[in-house]
């Protein structure tokens, strides 16, 4: 009768029963872990007492108490004979080993003894714990132990040995080849458990060295279904990467067909997948759209999103289509043995019980399977939704991309995306998006019926999304347009009648969304829907929501001259608007004003007089409005209209008079063609974390370049003898850059050339760039240099003067310098106090100027002239720190007018002034003490630019607080009263600020930030080759110091992309003029937000005249930030 009561009793009963059950468990230890003195227990002779003590310690650890002071006593117990004591001691040890390195070393002997124990379990535990200690000193010993265990008879021990490989990877960066060799041994192990684990080791140790796979490939594929599930996930990924690197993409796959335009229609038409596209006018537009999308996706898979942008000069998505033609060499065919085997062996995994395995297998088939076979992935991935509810969100994120690229794939399964009441909002929103992407004529009836049900849902946010989804459906399927419009109109008028209730916000949101949807639908053929417009206009007297009213008025104005009905109702509507003008809010007033002008401009002669009168009335009201913007607009309109009466306007329009033309252009100018709602241009590999969080997570690696792995191996199944040979050749491939693309570096160098001019007009008052000054000078003392503060001041004042000198004398001095440099290497102690020698300082100046020419912040486009009606906005990051707050980043905006007309009232503001949930979350993330900026604004707006003449360019500095160092910020650019939204992409290189330090303190700091705070990445650098050529042409007779040039181009590259301080340049100790190996540049900076140091060092290897192999290392306490920064560095250096 009383379930609550029942529940309560049941609860207390269960509590009582657990009390009984608690006897004999460790409950008392967890409840009062320190009610006895632990120390004597640890030294007890009895194992049971030791056990109890250790359990108490673990209980304290579980509760978050730091008990590392017991470390020495616990370490002794590792030697215990009792396995339980051992195990507990290990658990404790691993928790604190890194904190107490010295004491941890005491245990090493025990571990080594245990490694030769007869019990495999003891051996395995010893190895696991020893590797887990994670100390530099121990790492070589662990490596030796792994070698030993690699031959262990027990496969469990071997498996633990494989896992240990990735544990010591970051401790032994220089032993990489050793580790690779071990991975190779483990991969050929006959136990499948070991092979599965070795896949993970391969991924962490040597993912780039795919050639290692080639001789194992067949065997790995065939054993794939029998390997344990967790190994499968990683192995699938590796095999996919290998096949792509070796054979390239499959010609018949979606990815590839999308790139071959000529075969595009025929292939897709014949497969019957795209039958819906042939039917309708509007859907023909969809073909290139979708085509664009999946080739873009494909490109993203291969190159990573950032690089993709870099290459194509991303400008608001208007990427020329010709750039999509990837001229990758000969794609593989599905007939290819390796491809076929991979697909065949991953097929049964689609039935796996492990959802991650299923998704990994789905990814392989999505990328590699021939077009007509992709269907196989659909049922397994849909089944995941039901059979594994925890993964629903992640799976839907992936389906969303699949469905957008290939809607026909999921079209018949629309039922699976129907929303349940128990699901959370994010899942529902994803389902809606998928439903509106896959809707077809056949399913439209069911889906729209379903949407109707959703309208009554309690979550009003979800209802608004549904309304938007209806709009998208109608745009995709012309056959349902009328039904949708009818429904939306009903919604608009009905909501308006009941919206005086409490939850006004939610209702208003739905109403606005409904009208937005209507607007986007009728945009395609306004003439057909004039009745709809008329009905909307009639609703004006009931709809109270200002945003909705403004939208309707805009629609009325935009289509005022279309069809038969509109001209008839316009006079009445206009009168109504004029009558209500004074009571409206600002935005609505704007629209009324605009609409009135539009009506006059397009009116026929007989109505002109009436309209003129109404317009004049509105103008009179507007001229004395409270809001200055309205007043200005009204005055401007009046000025433009005034010289002519009604007839004049029309005559002028015909004759092309200036005023009329301006009006025409302002109010009826061609709208840039709008596309389907903004889709995200970022795609990450299916099943990856980056795909779910929508930014490249640290460690995310796009697929390798197709066919980058060359056929230097005899065959896929090579004999065992080739082991060592293939290893060597493998690493050489890796080092010489297994990526055969020279494009990115070429384009970027071209860009920097182009920017040289621009940077002259900039003012790089950049402490970091000027600090380069005394590099060369200091090199006199020794090969390491320490810039001093004095030269920094000096440099700034003399900069402009020196600029003139540069070109004339740079050649001689460079020669001089190279000789002095050479001397300095030969004789280290020839040092003289540098600042006293005037001749030296002149050479300093030269180098600064050289650098300041090349140090050129990269320009990004914020607003394209085509999208901004002639206003072009570009931005670059400034090195200077904000005066207001450490959270702010300074950005220089270059606003230029590319049109023939005057642009007025330009401002840049935050794009989302009403803070959404995301930003409130952001507020949470900030530590309280640091949140000094006011939460409301993320942008300190620039002062308004009142007028911008055609051709004129104005500079402004904007201070922005990005919410995340990878995520863009929406900004709104206002110009001529119109609002353009744009995205401001952060550059992580400017989230740091330079801190000056000398070489010694750098090394000291660096040693503090070892281990997990350190990350390294290798890439090749070619920027200097261009410079070298340049230099050779200039002064062919004189020998130049190539290494100097190389270091200069490296330094300038870094300084123009990141806000860092150049600490020192270590020159290689070598007599060969061409050998740059050992060149080391050090940069220091700190994260501006939290003032934590962030150290970067770059080491080069190789010959000057060839692409250099450089390794970039970042030491930073914020590991995520450090990794992201590292990725950025590699991206622009590469």
């Amino acid at each position: 009768m009383f379930p609550q009561f029942g529940a309560a009793t049941a609860d207390s009963l269960s509590r009582a029963s657990t009390l009984v059950f608690r006897i004999g468990t460790d409950a008392h230890l967890y409840d009062d872990p320190d009610d006895v003195n632990i120390a004597p227990l640890l030294d007890s002779r009895f194992d049971s007492e030791k056990c109890e003590a250790l359990k108490r310690l673990l209980a304290l650890i579980a509760q978050g108490v730091d008990v590392c002071n017991f470390f020495p006593q616990v370490v002794k117990n590792v030697a215990s004979q009792s396995l339980e004591v051992k195990k507990l001691a290990y658990l404790y040890l691993l928790q604190y080993a890194e904190k107490r390195p010295n004491e941890a070393l005491l245990s090493i002997n025990c571990f080594q003894k245990d490694l030769s124990d007869l019990n495999p379990l003891v051996r395995a535990w010893a190895l696991r714990s020893m590797a887990g200690i994670h100390l530099h000193v121990v790492a070589p010993l662990v490596l030796a132990a792994i070698r030993k265990c690699a031959r262990d008879p027990s496969s469990y021990v071997r498996k633990c040995a494989v896992n240990a490989l990735s544990k010591i990877l970051d401790l032994l960066p220089e032993e990489n080849t050793d580790l690779e060799e071990l991975v190779n041994i483990f991969m050929s192990d006959h136990s499948l458990g070991v092979v599965g684990a070795s896949a993970v080791a391969f991924k962490t140790v040597c993912l780039k060295n795919l050639s290692l796979i080639s001789k194992h490939f067949r065997r790995l594929c065939e054993s794939l279904p029998d390997i344990e599930e967790w190994g499968q996930i990683t192995l699938i990924e590796i095999l996919l990467r290998y096949v792509i690197a070796r054979h390239g993409l499959v010609r018949e796959s979606i990815m590839f067909t999308s790139n071959a335009t000529e075969s595009f229609h025929s292939t897709w038409g014949s497969t019957g997948l795209f039958h819906t596209f042939d039917n309708h006018n509007s859907s023909i537009e969809n073909v290139p759209h979708d085509f664009k999308e999946n080739s873009l996706m494909f490109k993203n898979y291969i190159e990573g999103w950032e690089e993709c942008l870099l290459q194509h000069g991303f400008t608001n998505g208007n990427v020329g289509e010709d750039q999509y033609h990837l001229n990758y060499v000969a794609p593989a065919s599905i007939e290819n043995d390796d491809v076929r085997i991979l697909l065949q062996c991953t097929l049964p995994l689609l039935w796996s019980q492990n959802s991650a395995v299923v998704l990994a297998a789905v990814g392989v088939h999505w990328i590699m399977a021939p077009n007509e076979k992709v269907q196989r992935i659909v049922k397994p991935i849909l089944f995941l939704l039901r059979s594994f509810p925890d993964s629903k969100y992640v799976v839907l994120c992936n389906i969303q991309v699949f469905a957008k690229v290939l809607p026909s794939l999921f079209a018949p399964y629309y039922e699976d995306f129907f929303v349940h009441s128990s699901e959370i909002y994010q899942i529902r929103a994803l389902k809606l998006e998928i439903l509106s992407a896959i809707v077809t004529d056949a399913s439209s009836q069911f889906i729209l019926d379903e949407f109707q049900d959703y309208i009554k849902d309690q979550d009003r946010r979800f209802v608004a999304d549904t309304v938007a989804a209806i709009g998208i459906c109608a745009q995709r399927l012309p056959s349902v347009v009328d039904v949708c419009l009818e429904g939306l109109l009903g919604l608009a008028s009905q909501e308006s009648s009941t919206s005086n209730a409490s939850q006004k916000d939610g209702e208003a949101c739905i109403l606005v969304q409904a009208i937005m949807s209507i607007k986007s639908i009728i945009k395609h053929s306004p003439a057909r829907h004039e009745k709809v417009i008329a009905r909307l206009a009639r609703n004006l007297d009931v709809i109270k929501e200002p945003a909705a009213r403004a939208l309707i008025i805009w629609i009325v104005g935009e289509y005022c001259s279309i069809g038969q009905i509109m001209p008839n109702i316009i006079p009445n509507v206009l009168k109504f608007l004029a009558w209500s003008f004074s009571s409206e809010i600002l935005e609505t007033k704007h629209q009324i004003l605009n609409t009135a002008i539009k009506v006059v401009l397009s009116a026929r002669n007989e109505d002109m007089l009436v309209f003129e009168k109404i317009l004049n009335y509105i103008l009179q009201l507007a001229k004395y409005d409270i809001d200055y913007d309205i007043r200005d607009r009204a005055r401007m309109a009046e000025k433009l209209l005034s010289p002519c009466n009604a007839e004049d306007i029309s005559r002028k329009l015909q004759n092309g008079g200036t005023a009329g033309e301006i009006l025409e252009n302002i109010f009826r100018g061609n709208k840039h063609p709008s596309r389907l709602p903004d889709h995200d241009f970022r795609f990450y590999l299916p099943g990856s974390l980056s795909h779910v969080v929508l930014h490249a997570a640290p460690g995310y690696d796009p697929l390798p370049k197709p066919c980058s792995l060359h056929d230097n191996l005899p065959n896929g199944i090579a004999d065992e003898d080739a082991t060592s040979g293939s290893l060597d050749s493998g690493s050489s491939i890796d080092e010489s850059g297994s990526y055969n693309d020279s494009d990115p570096s070429v384009t970027s160098s071209v860009e920097s050339d182009g920017n040289e001019l621009a940077s002259d007009s900039h003012d790089p008052n950049n402490p970091s760039s000027s600090s380069i000054t005394n590099i060369d000078e200091d090199r006199k003392e020794n090969s390491r240099c320490h810039p001093s503060e004095s030269s920094f001041v000096y440099d700034q004042s003399s900069r402009s003067a020196a600029e003139n000198l540069t070109t004339s004398i740079s050649s001689d001095l460079a020669d001089l310098m190279s000789r002095t440099a050479l001397e300095s290497w030969l004789d280290e102690h020839s040092g003289l106090p540098s600042a006293t020698k005037p001749s030296e300082s002149s050479s300093i100046r030269i180098s600064v100027n050289d650098l300041s020419c090349t140090v050129s912040p990269k320009l990004h486009t914020l607003l394209d002239p085509t999208n901004g009606n002639g206003l072009k906005v570009e931005y670059s990051f400034l090195a200077e720190a904000s005066k207001h707050s450490p959270f702010l980043v300074c950005i220089e905006l270059l606003l230029s007018n590319c049109s023939n007309e005057l642009l007025t009232a330009i401002t840049v503001e935050d794009g989302e002034p009403n803070k959404s949930a995301a930003s409130s979350m952001q507020a949470l993330e900030k530590p309280e003490s640091l949140s000094t900026t006011d939460e409301g604004s993320t942008i300190i707006p620039i002062e308004e630019i009142t007028r911008l003449e055609p051709g004129q360019t104005i500079k402004r500095t904007l201070q922005v607080q990005f919410q995340h160092h990878l995520l863009p910020l929406k900004v709104a650019v206002f110009c001529n009263g119109r609002r353009y939204t744009a995205k401001l992409w952060p550059d992580i290189g400017y989230f740091i600020r330079p801190i000056s330090m000398n070489g010694n303190s750098f090394v000291e700091k660096e040693s503090e930030l070892k281990g997990m705070f350190e990350c390294t990445k290798r890439c090749s650098f070619e920027g200097h080759i261009e410079d070298l050529k340049h230099e050779e042409q200039k002064q062919s007779s004189l020998g130049t110091d190539k290494i100097l040039l190389v270091s200069r181009s490296l330094a300038s590259k870094v300084l123009s992309h990141a806000n860092v301080f150049l600490v020192s340049i270590d020159m290689p100790v070598s007599f060969s003029d061409d050998d740059a190996s050992g060149l080391r540049l050090r940069f220091s900076s700190e994260i501006s937000r939290i003032s934590k140091p962030c150290l970067i060092s770059i080491v080069a290897e190789g010959k000057c005249s060839e692409p250099l192999n450089i390794s970039v290392k970042v030491n930073c306490e914020e590991t995520v930030f450090g990794l992201n920064l590292l990725n950025r560095f590699v991206a622009f250096l590469h």
Binding site: K87, N119, M921
Partner: protein, 416 residues
Amino acid sequence: MLQCIFLLSDSGEVMLEKQMTGHRVDRSICGWFWDYVISQGGDSTKILPVIASPTHYIFQIFREGITFLACTQVEMPPLMGIEFLCRVADVLTGYLGGLNEDLIKDNFIIVYELLDEMMDNGFPLTTVPNILREMIAPPNIVSKVLSVVTGKSSNVSNILPDATASPVPWRKSDLKSSSNEVYVDLIEELDAILSREGVLVKCEVYGEVHVNSHLPGFPDLTLSFANPSILNDVRFHPCVRFRPWEGEQILSFVPPDGEFKLASYRVKKLKNIPIYVKPQLTSSSGHCRVNVLVGIRNDPGKVIENIRVQFQLPSCVESVDVSSNHGTVNVLADKTCFWSIGRIPKDKSPSLSGNLVLELGLDRLPVFPVFRVGFKIVGVALSGLQINKLEIKNMPARLYKGFRAITKAGEYEVRS
């Protein structure tokens, strides 16, 4: 690579932390997470499984009041993290015979030992329950009594289970079972959506085949269905061989000892639902009449038990007054209405009726609740799936085989 696993109680307290790699994660991340949960409305069941915090990526699942939380800083398949947490939850449930705050605290040593075996350096090591049970003994009455009496206990095994090296890691090699028995259960969940018009929009069954076997040695089992063609999608336990299924649609496997989930499947496009729920809401002048009728639509041939209807009243409802002619009705503080009916009586059809008073100024109800229905039918698999036969090779003759079927309501929703 998972760097750390935390177990949180339903009040946000960190019960346990287990660092997995050398890259230690501070437990302040749990504080951030809990703040995030509260900012999202405080309902732990409605939190995304993958969250990007300022310092870490968090994976989380919520089971029986316990939040399993794992952190990583680098790219890894998110499903791997989530799936692993689910395995941890399953294994713990199996070990502790349930899952709640007290059980975890009482057995924290076992939880530590398990986590240590299940993951090595942030990557799953041994997750097969069968091997784990051999390595770390589950708590049971005998061991507890023993520990109380003798004062010593060890749940850590001294020898490495040989299943770690076996090609069938899920099975102990030298099993000597006294009871030769196999039970096969079909457990089905019926999903259905009835639209506001009363149309059956979607009706399908999600089912699982559970096998509970106690057999000695290495038995080789073959399970075949009479009508495998109705199965729409399938997923298998790793012990199922792929070839026989591909070729002849039979399940051939060597089972683990004890109970396990052999396969899960889905049967779509069903036409019949066992019970109907007819909600009626009519509102006028600030009041709303609710009337819900429940009855049998298609008699499944067995008794339908545990029938209950649950719905969430809109937030604009001020007060509620509902009663039923059969069963009990409860309205919770968050305006959730539970109506538990039990079995449908022979003589009358259960109905719930009542009056809702709407908020001031609201004339009619703008939004309508969704009615979620629960029930249980023992002895019937509503999908119509039938087991044909179960063959067992290399087995003694005396053997007991048992089959059972049960159908429960899954996502069974009636919109009003």
